[in-house]
């Protein structure tokens, strides 16, 4: 890996994303304001107004229209970007399926936020979990550097595999926090993300019909083709990350590990809170406990093999969910369990729901969750109330 190149700047997470979008020279931005995403598009609007970015900025009247306008722009051969959060993501839900079904490489950043009701503008992953099945490539960022890097990668990945890509970054924790990050050279970013070219855009010189009506004799074949292509995207994602590392010096992986060597207990987590969890791991390690941390970076397509490899030597896996599927439990935990079902070696699994609606999860919380899970897992068979708990609730 080459030495890290670029200049160190202090940037808010939102503005790091805006900067990435500017550097890839996006053509069309369509967005509707919603906290905590708004800083991203405000900054982009400013760039367009100041002539720093030559793009069409469409102030649409809803998120449904934001995604629809992005689809139109992408179909006409333009590079399109939007961002949203929570209710906005839910409002555009049906349009997300169209973007992927019609294979438009739209890029979207989601500043994750809890869903109503009750109204909450603060971070959790309820919005992300509601769009698991929309056939978008989905990644999670843990800090502002990653928000920048993965936004750049999202364009490159999406346009290589013709699937839309969604980057999740925690609302407020990242979107509104200023951190140091390395901004690479603009030209290198432009070289890394070459101009977008749709093979058959909407163009009167070469008429095409897009989005035709599919009776039962053809619909399942189209869905199979989509599934094959979507699975195949996994290899391309890894290639792009590898190339990114070669140029910019930062390597990303589908499943990230922290102090996992010789660990028998690990916690699995997504998003910004993983950096807090690292502190807990460090403290527990210094107390002599062999614990480690796993972070799911790639959420769709799901990294089955990588996850299996990562838990191969574990006795206990603790999964932290920042959302809840009522009557079922933690959605990430459910997926992790299903991914490990066929594995020869399966660790015991304890599921915690924590950090809903912006409730902070502290280092102490993480340590307590580690210790509680380790204690419960000594039993031959855990009861449901032991294997699943909503953490830190005042009752």
């Amino acid at each position: 890996m080459p030495a890290v190149k670029g200049r160190v700047v202090g940037l808010e997470g939102s503005h790091a994303v805006s900067e990435a979008v500017r550097m890839v020279d996006v053509d069309v931005i369509a967005a509707y304001p919603i906290t905590p995403q708004t800083h991203i598009v405000e900054r982009l609007a400013e760039m367009v107004a100041n002539g720093e970015l030559d793009a069409e900025f469409i102030c649409v009247e809803s998120e449904h229209s934001a995604m629809s306008a992005c689809i139109g722009a992408s179909a006409a051969g333009a590079r399109a970007f939007t961002c949203t959060a929570a209710q906005g993501l839910e409002l555009m839900h049906e349009v997300l399926y169209v973007a992927s079904g019609m294979r438009f490489p739209v890029v979207m950043v989601v500043a994750n936020r809890a869903l109503s009701a009750p109204l909450s503008i603060w971070c959790d992953h309820s919005d992300a979990m509601a769009v698991r099945d929309v056939s978008w490539i989905q990644m999670f960022a843990e800090n502002n550097q990653e928000a920048f890097d993965l936004t750049v990668c999202a364009f490159r990945i999406a346009e290589s595999v013709f699937f839309p890509a969604m980057l999740h970054m925690d609302g407020f924790y990242l979107s509104h926090v200023i951190e140091d990050l390395i901004l690479p050279d603009e030209e290198e970013v432009r070289n890394f993300v070459p101009d977008y070219e749709h093979p058959l855009p909407l163009d009167p010189e070469k008429p095409v019909s897009m989005g035709c009506f599919a009776p039962p004799y053809i619909y399942p074949e189209i869905k199979k083709a989509q599934e094959v292509a979507f699975e195949a995207a996994k290899a391309k994602i890894k290639d792009v990350w590898k190339e990114f590392a070669e140029i910019f010096g930062r390597q990303y992986n589908a499943v990230e590990t922290y102090r996992m060597e010789d660990a028998s207990v690990a916690m699995l987590i997504m998003g910004s809170v993983s950096e807090t969890a690292m502190l807990a791991v460090d403290e527990l390690r210094s107390e002599g406990k062999d614990v480690g941390l796993l972070r799911l970076r790639l959420w769709r397509p799901f990294p089955f093999e990588e996850l299996r490899d990562a838990v191969r030597n574990l006795d206990l896996l603790i999964v932290i969910d920042r959302s809840i599927s009522h009557g079922m439990g933690g959605p990430v935990c459910a997926e992790v369990k299903s991914a490990l079902y066929e594995a020869r070696h399966r660790p015991k699994i304890v599921s915690f729901i924590a950090g809903l609606g912006g409730r902070d999860i502290t280092v102490k919380d993480f340590k307590d969750m580690f210790n509680a899970a380790i204690e419960r897992s000594t039993k031959e068979e855990m009861r449901r109330t032991e294997a699943f708990e909503m953490w830190g609730i005042r009752e």
């Binding site: 722009a73 179909a75 989005g211 035709c212």
Partner: protein, 490 residues
């Protein structure tokens, strides 16, 4: 190529009016006979030629023109969802603007067209449309208003007759229908000797790899009996099993009529007909140059429905559709007129049908203060095409509201589409006017005919009493007078 359509008096001189013979919306699509919407879309496209990009909402027009693997569009066309045409067309217009500015695409005058029905415009699509009009995109939005959420195909079976596809209930005694000739195995024309209503019966759905049809269990289908010698026999539906091969019309008629058809048998004696296919057949499943067999995938109960039968001279068989597309019914929208009976606003003892007045969509569009708003109707084709060209030439958003008479939903014979549209205008129910930069102009202003003439030709209004008709008349005249005032006509 252009042909002379008519000579028209303009500023005291007779001038020729030409129209292109080129069809942008290709023939062979699946619209019902007499579809006002397909006609209107054809005229809109004809008016603009090939430098267009069309965004089409979910609805009749999309369904009839884009069933995979075929398309009827000779220009770039995209369909995504029901309610977002305004937004998608905005995105395309913005993309072209920026790509041309950046030199990624060469400059060219393209009309960005939005197509939607009344639901996709004035109900679920209103928000996205309003956004597009307010933002000032250079687009032309055409609403094809058939005043409800319609069938995309008639509910009853379609019969292949000498004069095209007809619903079984519309075939007349004495009319010639196509049949299967047992001597030649080719298609032949025979006279219909009777139409019988068999009441409401239990029906079954027969499905082949590509098509399906509903029929009663005792209805005979022509089935291949012996693969090697290709002998045929009649089997009642109750005896037809998955794997059986039923006789269907070949592709040749699929392309001409937009439908693939099964051979049906009328109920007269059929036990004695066992036939062997004569030579000269091509292809594994071929029976003759007109017919082939297709494997049955499934036969399953499909509820109860009113059933009909035809009697046909000589051959005792006829050809019914194998392509019953799922219906959306005829459900009211906010554009459905007062008094119309639909499946969600049915007329009954306590209801007149639709209880509210039609939402005035052109006025809503005009309230956005866009450069051009117009109403049009395919019964006035030259007026319609002129308005489309004006709308496309306007700098900024343009909106054209096109009344598209629907024989299936409005319940009138398909040969009356033009007349119904004409009456809508002549009675003042649907006045033709333009709003150009805020200036109103009435395009057709003559003493109004009584609305009764328009209403009574349509099944959806058949139940209306004199009292209700009078109420409608009053409202129509009052609105018309207001429009005249706006247009400055005294």
């Amino acid at each position: 190529m252009k042909v002379l359509l008519e000579m028209r008096e303009m500023r005291g001189e007779l001038k020729p009016v030409f129209v292109s013979t080129e069809e942008i919306l290709a023939q062979g699509h699946r619209a019902c006979q007499g579809c006002g919407e397909a006609l209107a879309a054809r005229l809109v496209c004809k008016a603009l030629g090939k430098d267009v990009i069309i965004v089409n909402a979910t609805g009749c027009l999309e369904i009839i023109s884009s069933t995979l693997p075929q398309t009827s569009w000779r220009v770039p066309w995209i369909h995504t969802l029901f309610e977002n045409v305004g937004a998608v067309v905005s995105g395309i217009e913005a993309a072209y603007k920026v790509l041309e500015r950046k030199g990624k695409r060469k400059k060219r005058k393209i009309t960005f067209l939005g197509f939607a029905g009344d639901g996709g415009t004035s109900d679920i699509g209103l928000q996205a449309l309003s956004g597009a009009l307010e933002r000032g995109h250079n687009i032309l939005f055409c609403c094809f208003d058939n005043e409800a959420y319609m069938n995309c195909l008639p509910a009853s079976s379609l019969i292949l007759t000498e004069s095209g596809m007809k619903r079984i209930v519309d075939v007349a005694v004495g009319e010639r229908v196509y049949a299967f000739d047992f001597k030649t195995h080719k298609i032949t024309l025979k006279r219909c000797t009777g139409i019988f209503s068999n009441g409401v019966r239990e029906i079954y759905e027969l499905r082949t790899s590509h098509h399906k049809i509903n029929a009663t269990p005792n209805h005979p289908f022509l089935v291949l009996r012996d693969e090697r010698v290709r002998s045929l026999e009649w089997k009642v539906l109750a005896d037809v099993k998955p794997g059986d091969k039923v006789v269907v019309l070949k592709d040749i008629l699929r392309t001409e009529q937009g439908l693939l058809c099964f051979v049906w048998r009328s109920f007269e004696s059929f036990e004695d007909d066992v036939n062997v296919c004569s030579g000269g057949c091509e292809g594994k499943n071929s029976i003759s140059e007109h017919f082939e067999t297709e494997e049955v995938v499934e036969v399953r109960p499909a509820g109860i429905a009113p059933v009909y039968d035809l009697h046909v001279e000589g051959e005792h068989n006829f050809i019914a559709d194998g392509f019953v597309v799922h219906n959306t019914g005829i459900q009211r929208s906010s554009a459905t007129p007062y008094g119309a009976s639909t499946t969600t606003s049915p007329a009954g003892k306590r209801s007149v049908g639709q209880m509210t007045w039609k939402k005035d969509m052109p006025e809503i569009a005009a309230a956005h203060e866009i450069p051009y708003v117009a109403t049009a109707c395919p019964s006035f084709p030259l007026d319609l095409m002129a308005k489309v060209r004006k709308g496309a030439a306007a700098e900024g958003p343009a909106y054209i509201h096109i009344l598209s008479a629907c024989p299936t939903g409005w319940r009138f014979p398909p040969n009356l589409t033009i007349e119904i549209g004409r009456l809508a205008v002549e009675t003042g129910v649907f006045p033709l006017y333009e709003v150009e930069n805020g200036e109103y102009r009435l395009n057709f202003d003559r003493p109004l005919k009584p609305v009764r003439e328009y209403l009574m030709k349509q099944g959806r209004f058949k139940h209306l009493t004199d009292e209700v008709i009078e109420k409608i008349e009053e409202r129509v005249r009052e609105k018309y007078e207001r429009l005249r005032e706006k247009a400055g006509v005294k």
